[in-house]
Amino acid sequence: MARILVIDDDANLLQMVKLMLERVGHQVEISDSGEEGIALAAKNQHELAIIDVMMPGLSGYDVVRRMREDSRTARIPIIILTARSQPMDKHMALEAGANAFLSKPVTSHELTDRVDAVLRAGVNYRVHTGLLTEPIPRSPTPPPRPSSVPPRPPSQLQAIETLEQPAVDFSDALSADTIKGRLPIMTVISLRGGTGSTTIAVNLAFTLVNRGRQVCLVDLSTSSGHIPLHLHLPSPHNWSELVAKGNTFDPRIVNQLLIEHPPSGMAVLPAPAIPGTPTLSTIATQNILQELGSTYSHVVVDAPHLDSASIGALLVARAVVVVMADDLLSIQSTGQFLTALQNLGVEMGRVRVVLNQIRPTRDVPPDTIQKALKRPLSAEIPYTPDHANAIRRGMPLVVSDPEGAYAQAIQQLTRTMTM
């Protein structure tokens, strides 16, 4: 069991948390001030610290920052426990360097579960509600790349070729850093068909719409895009009209290609219905997404293949959602795909690996998958037989059954992506 430091100016809460943790076997040391707590942490090298935010004098955020700056305490995982429970408070706590955020009141189950998850994950991971884990980006502000992208090393193309996809020329591609800031784009991708990535993209988009965001959903499929079918939308236009014009970019044409989903107000850029249509170039895709990103608060991209258009979407996305199933083929292709993403220059901090339970029975357990991939799963989407009905009604599950397990998991996934 672990040695844990609890820092809070509320004596009653200190005793209560101490009691809860000692009951499950942890050794707990308490402190009622930030200054004293930092000194104790440096001296006794605890395995975890639980820190309140609102303390007179040194605030919890200051304590976290000072612990992260001190080499003796920088490796101690930290949970913030506070009565300030708004989204911006959580963001502030995680930005300061905390690994997890809990709001008061907290039950002993919630507390001990989160403590165990943070101890398991270590200081390099954030643990969110539902015990979803994501790696902390190593460098929140990476150094800017030169505007002219240098030739990429052979390993990038090799990585793509190992996935048995046609090698594509993306030497003219813009990286996320060369475009002004990160675009508010989520790219959902799966290299194996039938993992439900399109359904996840549609439901992610509607989750954002439900939160009052202006969303554009982009279908980059080249094998008969299914998004209009999910939403019962006619698709008189699609992006192949841009390809036919030689991949030239004209914002007016892009806006003319968009169709509106009337009940939600969401915009959709459909894919051609005929399979085998030539796809967009990397640079054209990035220009389109840049235009849409400046118009809509969020753009969700369904990118089913690793082709030139998908690479464009991966490079500019703020978050990349890699969808996998729990079978061996999917695990293998996901592992290789993560390597390919790294070689493409997609930082792993932007990537969320999502296990979509596409069958009622489990094949490989999530723990084994995490070990095989050497990274945690950001979300597990439970199996539901209701997708067929959802498509029949043209109403995604996050709309028709927002309290259902599937919708809850999608909402949870959305929350892990700081957009």
Partner: protein
């Protein structure tokens, strides 16, 4: 039993965010027998006393500005009070807002600088519009509510209950379920 035990703020207090036109005031109200709703709706008291007050500018609400052992907030200048637990937003006579036959009625309000969405939990026989217009109480609770600061839509407050100062309501709409 162990699993349901809660580590919370001091017994007999409720923590909340008290939002004015310019500030986010986080503090703990001493309930001393009176639920927060009843204290806010007490016509003879102009102020409500808070302890462990932390004051942040509304446009930088996550920062921790000044903090004080205790202070008083003018109730009529409050726009919203955000509470994490729905139960904290109930008055002593809970029947008005809680009951097996009550229905959740979605409403949208513009309150000062905020757009607020949430649920009014009322008996189906109650006309929601009439209720908001004519109830004698200054504060009404919206459950599972969300308030977005107009002009700064990244600033969002969510709560199991948001208590709305009717005196600050600029417009409201009763939404269809």
């Amino acid at each position: 039993m162990i699993g349901t035990q809660k580590a919370t703020i001091r017994k007999g207090y409720v923590a909340g965010d008290y939002l004015t036109a310019s500030y986010r005031i986080n503090g703990e109200a001493d309930l001393h027998g009176d639920p927060l709703m009843d204290q806010l709706n007490h016509h003879m008291e102009l102020f409500i006393q808070l302890e462990r007050m932390f004051i942040s500018p509304l446009l930088d609400p996550a920062s921790l500005g000044a903090n004080y052992e205790s202070g008083h907030v003018r109730k009529s200048n409050l726009e919203l009070v955000v509470l994490s637990e729905p139960e904290s937003g109930l008055p002593r006579r809970q029947g008005q807002y809680k009951g097996p036959d009550h229905a959740q009625r979605p409403v949208f309000l513009i309150v000062g600088g905020f757009e607020v969405n949430g649920m009014l939990n009322l008996h189906p026989s109650v006309n929601v519009g009439n209720f908001i217009r004519t109830t004698p109480e200054q504060f009404i609770p919206l459950f599972n509510a969300r308030a977005v600061l107009i002009g700064h839509r990244e600033i969002v407050f969510e709560g199991g209950a948001i208590l709305v100062n009717r005196g600050q309501i600029e417009a409201f709409c009763v939404l269809k379920k």
